[in-house]
Amino acid sequence: MPVGGRVSGLRARLGLGRRDALDGVVIVAGVIFAVAALPSLLSPYWVVNATIAFIYALVALGLGVLAGRVGLISLGQGAVLALGGWVGARLLFATSLPYPIAIIVAGLITMVMGTLIGLPALRVSGLYLALVTLMLAGAINVVLTDTNFPNGGKGFLGYNDISTGTPPSIRRPSIAASDPAFLRYTVIVVLVMFVLVLLHIRGKPGRAWAAIRQSEPAALAAGVNVTVYKMWAFALASFVTGVAGALLGSSSHVLYNYQFPTSQSIILFAVALMGGIYTMWGAVVAAFLFQIVPSLFTVWGISNDWATILFGVGALQVLTTAPAGIAHQFPRDMAKLGRLLFGLARRVAPAGGRAP
């Protein structure tokens, strides 16, 4: 049996299309590159930025689950990230739980909190959910401004009012104490979270979410428990974002409330739209836009206000002309360009061949 035939047979047995197989190859190659080569290729500045970008890919992934899969728009994911950061920091300071367990518990607690807070809004239609989550972002910001992030202090809040000196660091796993090692660790965690979300999308929840997104009454008529599956999506997005928050705390060693302004939730939503909410690649593009573009602007001496302007224009452009975002548009545009160049080359080549 030829190799091509064997590959096709394997794809068929796994239920994968040609595109899935190609995606799989690219993902495996990308992860191997990100773990093995990327940390040693980047300067310390870009190692930190790449780590944060991978963490924000999780936030965009959560937004993609909500908006792209179920059609629920949450404008409060920045606040959920802050919640995850708070819980993660508190756990990492207060307990000696192994690091992977601590971030999973942080994700689970954030999931419960996020779901409970969003529960009243899940009973109402889409626009109300967007409005309530926007207000939630403002409310969580108010609470965090008062409580501050844990810094190794005592009591429930774990905050110690330190006016001088360096605050204690939020711990990292012992195998990833350095920045390059933590980047590798983050890539692995992000991969696990992407696989978790992929399993949901390919499974029963994914089918229920697709039905809800198409038509809620039709999904209801087909026997889909709309409230449960909406809550499920909210829980999954909150879990993934909670894990991201815990990683973010360890990444920067210390968290401050000014790192999570209300505007961040809106910018996150805008970049998620720009990246593309209907594919998981969109989350990666969104993270690149959110973290790497402003960092590049900083390096080039361009004000970060231009990044905010870019995100505003980008959100408008995506909503009016390209709803599937860059992750969908870019490969199509490149393919079109490739076909155009190939066509031009073919037209030019015979003419050249016939020349005396």
Binding site: I73, G126, M135, V142, D305, I309, L316, L319
Partner: protein, 297 residues
């Protein structure tokens, strides 16, 4: 618990803030019912208008009255331009997409404001009406606060009356009921929508001017004061102008009356979220919240 006299000074402040939120809220509800667009850039539009007025007064030494009119007009023109470009393109899309697009406008304006008026510089915009006033009990009331409440009442009543008795208002109500049938009846839909965009923009500019004086002249803070407006509009189920006004006044009052209560004063800005959630739970228990068509009341 603080004494009654501690609360008194915060009553006019709360009423004035509520009046300004009501202005935005009324504009937001009318625009939503007429065009299906929930404009979440209301705060950013008002903020930019106020910053332009500040620059006109402090940099170009333009008389205050001209600057204030420019602020209000800026709100109207910018909203109209947005409506004519993006309102048309997104006319057939889901209300959620239309609302999300206005967030793009909010971000765009936020970036431009931070670029042109850096946040590091403290700015204040004081209206001439701040200088006079009167006392009621322990509370000092200035004329700006009176204007904010009065303008809020006048705009709510005036808009409700306008929608009832004028031809344009009737056309707006018809649009709110059914856009397709209204168009079939020969109503110039685009012109009516343009009027709704412009009118709501004028209210955004006026609210921005008042809030810049009553609260603060900072792009971020003013942009996100839209959360208070959204809460009032949400409590009114994006439909009733009178309920929007009452909800805005209640939000303004509660937010400010919490100030003297030390144990919860730091959490006072959670007021819009808490009140909106209470309203949601209340209504969700009675009947399903939905965006079923219905006129502006």
């Amino acid at each position: 618990m603080p004494s009654w006299s501690s609360f008194q000074p915060f009553i006019p402040i709360g009423l004035a803030a509520g009046g300004a939120y009501a202005l935005s809220g009324v504009g937001m509800v009318v625009l939503y019912r007429a065009t299906g667009v929930l404009n979440l850039a209301f705060g950013a539009i008002g903020a930019m208008g106020a910053l332009i007025a500040w620059s006109m007064i402090n940099t170009w030494h333009v008389p205050g009255g001209v600057a204030y009119v420019a602020c209000i007009l800026f709100g109207g023109v910018l909203t109209l331009v947005y409506g004519m470009i993006f309102g048309r393109v997104l006319a057939a899309r889901d209300p959620l997409v239309k609302a999300a697009a206005t967030l793009g406008l909010a971000l765009l304006l936020l970036g431009v404001m931070n670029r042109l008026w850096p946040a590091q510089v403290t700015r204040t915009l004081t209206l001439p009406s701040d200088n006079g006033g009167f006392a009621v009990g322990q509370a000092n009331v200035d004329w700006t606060q009176v204007i904010a409440v009065g303008f809020g009442i006048a705009m709510t009543a005036g808009t409700a009356l306008f929608l009832r008795v004028t031809k344009l208002g009737t056309a707006m109500r018809a649009l709110a009921d059914d856009r397709e049938i209204t168009a079939t009846l020969g109503v110039p839909v685009r012109r009516v929508e343009a009027a709704a965009w412009f009118g709501s923009g004028l209210l955004a500019g006026a609210a921005g001017l008042l809030l810049a004086d009553l609260d603060t002249l900072a792009s971020d803070a003013l942009t996100f004061l839209v959360i208070f407006t959204v809460s009032a509009a949400l409590i009114a189920r994006l439909r009733s102008l009178v309920v929007t006004f009452i909800a805005a006044i209640v939000i303004g009052l509660v937010d400010n009356l919490i100030t003297p209560i030390n144990s919860i004063t730091n959490f006072r800005d959670m007021t819009p979220f808490v009140l909106a959630i209470v309203a949601l739970l209340f209504f969700a228990g009675r009947r399903q919240y939905s965006f079923a068509r219905g006129g502006i009341r």
